[in-house]
């Protein structure tokens, strides 16, 4: 491989977010200097987002197994058994930063991404939820952010035709500079037809399906490097635009192909699209991968290998097809009018090899990319406990009417109807209960049966801020209670851990405390974590967001003749208070 000795300067390494010591490991594992494409690949694989380098060791503490767990964390989404051969596949994910930059598209692509995680595994998405945190209502940016985010979530979910059945919305000044947009998707599959990402077998064809690859979302480093910018007059936007129409076609096409036995492995192209999807598939399957980038469907001319590998264009999937089933795959995807191409094959080299314009542009061993990813034990300090409020110190209000008015007019308590009325809650005609009734959890019937899943998302950041451990416990417990309240047996949770900069010990302390508290609740309830996502560095000018471990819970209602809802109370009914 021809390369100039000086190609990778310390500045370029730094622009790629790799520390000096991380780059040392790259040099050591490769036994040479990487070229720019290879460096880009290491940088995204070892990014916080892909490698969970600050949180991995702590996430490992979570209870992740249980009687009903078919697949815990580690795949695109978690899978649980809901009897009769049915499985529920679900996950929650953040799209915080993109939504702050461009609220409509950021939120929309967040919904698209989480749905792909779910249907990648063979599930038809049946419900969406969203947990939103915004700044103060009178902050100058809040109004635009709220309306953009809500329109984006609705715009995507409504078009794809998956009901958005619930969520939560908070306003707090701690989110003025960093809003949180967490989306959860729940899908339904047959337990014996779940698809995984391990690319098994050598010589099997690799298919690319979905939208063409453009220069979307390729970050900083490329911008700075003139070599990669043909028309430098126009600074390239890093915002990705969602195309729910293509997503809908992808869902239908993938589910149609999944009903045959043509797919060996499948993975959606999320963050760092082609890079992380191909490496994860190869790593899990213990194989190598060779891709011919000339075959990648491209939206723009003159794309470099670097750009193709780092592009975050949306609505794309990578799959390993059984030899002999290529034509079947082409037929299905072409019927659904999707771009499709055979772009490579699995190999026995254990390497990721990329060819572009007949030249080898990348050749790196896969195992270090995945296994040697940094895994830090960042220093963490325990959050100092706050003094407990003494009830006696709080004066009784003189005017209960006024107190009540103040409570119900607070944006956090007030009706969220303005939001959920923009979401199609009824499509698929299995929504039994949703935001509309204000019940504690949404209820979605399993199509054609008399059972249902109950779904909720919860988190009270001010509790977590006061005491991460207790607050973490509370988030999990609240989902448990909300599911129980509608008559469901809680089964498992997903989570989205939104925190500030983990390199600050006090922030790391919040993260560790919350995880440990959540985990205690999980053990107490026998309520495992089956999937999740971590979003760190949510801070502006050194001001971190309130710690926000959003939890999504799923439970089963075995018999729809027995469930509870908020609607239906009549005057004269008896009210009963249970608990302390």
């Amino acid at each position: 491989m021809a390369r100039k000795q000086s190609e990778i300067t310390p500045e370029i390494v730094a622009e790629h977010g790799l520390s000096v010591s991380e780059y040392e490991i790259v040099l050591d594992r490769l036994g040479r200097e990487p070229n720019l494409t290879e460096l880009g690949i290491f940088s995204v694989m070892w990014s916080e987002h892909c490698s969970y380098k600050s949180s991995r060791r702590h996430l490992g503490k979570f209870l992740t197994t249980g009687d009903r767990v078919i697949q815990g964390p580690g795949e695109n989404a978690g899978v649980i058994d809901i009897d009769d051969g049915d499985a529920i596949i679900f996950k929650m994910e953040s799209h915080n930063h993109p939504s702050f930059i461009e609220p409509y598209q950021g939120a929309a692509t967040g919904v698209g991404g989480i749905m792909r995680d779910v249907f990648t595994m063979g599930a038809r998405p049946i419900a969406l939820l969203n947990a939103l945190r915004f700044g103060e209502p009178d902050h100058p940016k809040t109004r635009t952010l709220v309306s953009g985010v809500v329109a984006g979530i609705g715009g995507y979910g409504n078009c794809v035709g998956v009901p958005t059945v619930g969520g939560e919305t908070n306003f707090h000044k701690g989110y003025n500079g960093n809003i949180l947009v967490n989306a959860m998707c729940v899908g339904l599959a047959r337990a014996d037809n779940v698809f995984y990402s391990a690319a098994k077998g050598v010589g099997n064809p690799i298919f690319y399906v979905g939208s063409k690859t453009g220069r979307d979302g390729i970050h900083g480093a490329t911008m700075a490097s003139a070599e990669f910018d043909d028309d430098s007059d126009e600074k390239r936007p890093t915002v990705q635009v969602g195309d729910p129409f293509t997503e809908k076609l992808l869902i239908e096409a993938c589910l149609e192909l999944m009903a045959t036995d043509a797919i060996i492995a499948i993975q959606d192209m999320g963050a760092a699209g082609l890079t992380s999807s191909s490496i994860e598939m190869a790593d899990k399957g213990g194989v190598g991968i060779e891709l011919n980038l000339d075959k990648v469907p491209q939206r723009e001319p003159n794309m470099t290998a670097y750009e193709m590998m780092l592009s975050e264009s949306q609505e794309r999937m990578l799959m390993v097809i059984k030899p002999g089933k290529e034509q079947l795959a082409f037929d299905v995807f072409e019927k659904w009018e999707l771009d499709v191409a055979q772009i490579g094959k699995t190999t026995d080299t254990g390497h990721l090899v990329l060819k572009h314009h007949k030249k080898k542009v990348c050749d790196i061993p896969i195992s270090p990319l995945a296994d040697d990813a940094p895994n830090y034990d960042r220093p963490h300090t325990k959050t100092a406990p706050r003094p407990v409020l003494n009830a006696a110190d709080i004066h009784e209000t003189q005017d209960y009417n006024d107190a009540l008015m103040r409570i119900i007019s607070s944006p956090n308590i007030a009706s969220k109807r303005w939001i959920w009325e923009q979401y199609d809650r009824h499509v698929m005609t299995d929504t039994v209960d949703s935001s509309q009734s204000g019940g504690d959890a949404a209820i979605v019937r399993i199509h054609g049966t008399n059972k249902a899943v109950a779904i909720t998302t919860d988190c009270t950041p001010r509790y977590v801020e006061a005491d991460p451990y207790e607050g973490g416990k509370q988030c999990v417990a609240e989902t448990w209670r909300n599911l129980t309240c509608v008559g469901a047996d809680p089964i498992a949770i997903t989570d989205c851990l939104n925190f500030g900069n983990p390199e600050r010990p006090e922030i790391m302390g919040q993260l560790v405390g919350a995880i440990e508290g959540m985990n205690e609740a999980c053990h107490t309830f026998d309520y495992p974590v089956v999937s999740g996502n971590v979003s760190l560095y949510n801070e502006t000018n050194g001001q971190a967001i309130p710690p926000t471990p959003a939890v999504g819970g799923v439970g089963l209602i075995p018999d729809l003749h027995k469930f509870a809802t908020l609607s239906g109370a009549k005057s004269g009914d008896t009210l009963i208070l249970i608990g302390e």
């Binding site: 461009e102 939208s211 220069r215 979307d216 028309d231 126009e234 915002v239 635009v241 195309d243 009018e337």
Partner: protein
């Protein structure tokens, strides 16, 4: 006075609408269509008669509301009529 504001996606931004339009024109037998882009035109009726001053204000309107400058470009055309 009138201002015509043309708003379109920046080069490189995915235009799903344009793509879909081009493909369906092809399907309808218009094979000569290679690609399509969809943009917006906003026509504003303005009071006053100082075109230059008005244009500066329209730029402000674009930045504040009419265009989403994260993903869109705009172009302004002023007319006296």
């Amino acid at each position: 006075m009138k201002a015509l504001v043309y708003v379109g996606l920046k080069p490189g931004v995915l235009d799903p609408q344009g793509r879909t339009i081009a493909r369906s024109l092809n399907d309808l037998g218009f094979g000569e269509v290679e690609s399509a882009l969809q943009g917006k035109v906003i026509e504003l009726d303005l009071t006053g008669d100082d075109l230059t001053a008005a244009e500066a204000r329209v730029v402000e309107m674009c930045e504040k509301l009419l265009a989403n400058t994260v993903i869109e470009n705009y172009r302004i055309e002023m007319r006296a009529e």
